[in-house]
Symmetry: C2
Subunit: 207 residues, 2 copies
DNA sequence: GGGGAGACTAAGCGCTCGCTCAGGTTCGGC
DNA sequence: GCCGAACCTGAGCGAGCGCTTAGTCTCCCC
């Protein structure tokens, strides 16, 4: 369990795959603006302004404002899925893997709260095609967690009457961190991750 | 534990305190529209249209679009707080009261998903004064749940290392139901309430 | 150093937004 | 039968929206 990598919108490394530089600056500006005010309340002028450009510059790199949200959402979901896959694929007991998955997933939602907010809460602002693509990624996220829970049930280390419902609750708990977490609050992302890993192990009756 | 009372936006009884009739119809229309598309993506024309009125009629009963959201949010929070207070004040062990609080709170978020969505997720669309008023109500919600958890810890029936953090997680879990629950899904509000009550009792190490 | 490609801006188009206002309709009190 | 109050509509204002276009600037290749 490494310490939480910073994946705030301000970290250019998290968006290294977005090129050229101007397109990345615009995308980072959009993440910040969407997280603060929501997609619909954000104007293209605001995004371009934060990136130090004129409004028209946005349309050289992105066809529409929605394409920006789509790109952000896809990259974010892929990152989230990657985090869970890494934890799920490690050596160790089901309890260890579940604790690792939850704590790193929570750290991502807390530390990268800006990004996570957009990724988790602006899904409905996408058009039907883009939303369908993202929902497919979310089903994969669900499958990773459910896999770990099923492993623990199969080897008798977990006691879970309702695997699907419990999986849903675990993910719901983690995702909602993006709604309430604040870097100004009393807890660090690491602390919330550790607390939540413990709570989730209790939920699955880990022994 | 009664069965979930219907508190969907369509239920006029839930908004009985809003008068006259036209003002209530507008408010119900606003709840539905805000829940479907979000506050900023909803137009005053849409709200008035759903209520069968012209756009101008809205401004006879409400000063601004934001006042509509404020009224909805305040009434909704008061209802949520009422539900928790009722459960917290009942006779019975801490475990019984916590299970009752969680299951009825979850039933409200699931069954009245339309209202709960607006109440829980459109808070940031309010201006500073209105938001401050609502946040005060939320602190009272938090205090009710924390009180039950503290009771259980005090009498030794709960094992909770971090009372504040666990209270936050419990509420977070319940609130997020409004994000993912669908009446078309495989679970009824009652079933989710029962599942969540069990999960929360596990989280607090109830014995 | 001439020329084309790519990146960017100033200006603004067409549209829809929240909200307003003058005027019409309905209805109880007298 | 008339009046004022309450309620509602049709028309539309000013502003700001997403997005486009014409043109400028900066490179790099030759």
């Amino acid at each position: 369990m490494s310490t939480a990598e910073e994946t705030t919108a301000g970290d250019p490394q998290a968006w290294a795959e977005v090129t050229p530089d101007a397109a990345r600056r615009l995308l980072i500006a959009a993440v910040e603006a969407f997280a603060e005010r929501g997609y619909h309340a954000t104007t293209t002028r605001d995004i371009a302004g934060r990136a130090g450009m004129s409004p028209a510059a946005l349309y050289i790199h992105y066809k529409t404002k929605e394409e920006l949200l789509h790109r952000i959402s896809r990259i974010g979901h892929e990152k989230a899925l990657d985090i869970l896959r890494t934890a799920a694929g490690r050596e160790g007991s089901a309890a260890e893997r579940l604790a690792d998955a939850v704590s790193s997933f929570v750290r991502w939602h807390a530390g990268g709260r800006t990004t996570a907010r957009v990724v988790q809460y602006e899904l409905d602002s996408l058009g039907p095609d883009a939303r369908a693509e993202i929902l497919a990624l979310r089903r994969q996220v669900d499958a990773e967690v459910r896999g770990i829970v099923e492993d623990g049930v199969a080897d008798g280390s977990f006691d879970v009457p309702d695997v699907k419902g419990t999986t849903l609750a675990i993910l719901s708990l983690c995702i909602d961190v993006a709604r309430w977490f604040s870097l100004d609050g009393p807890r660090t992302p690491d602390e919330v991750g550790a607390l939540y890993a413990d709570l989730v192990l209790r939920m699955v009756g880990s022994k």
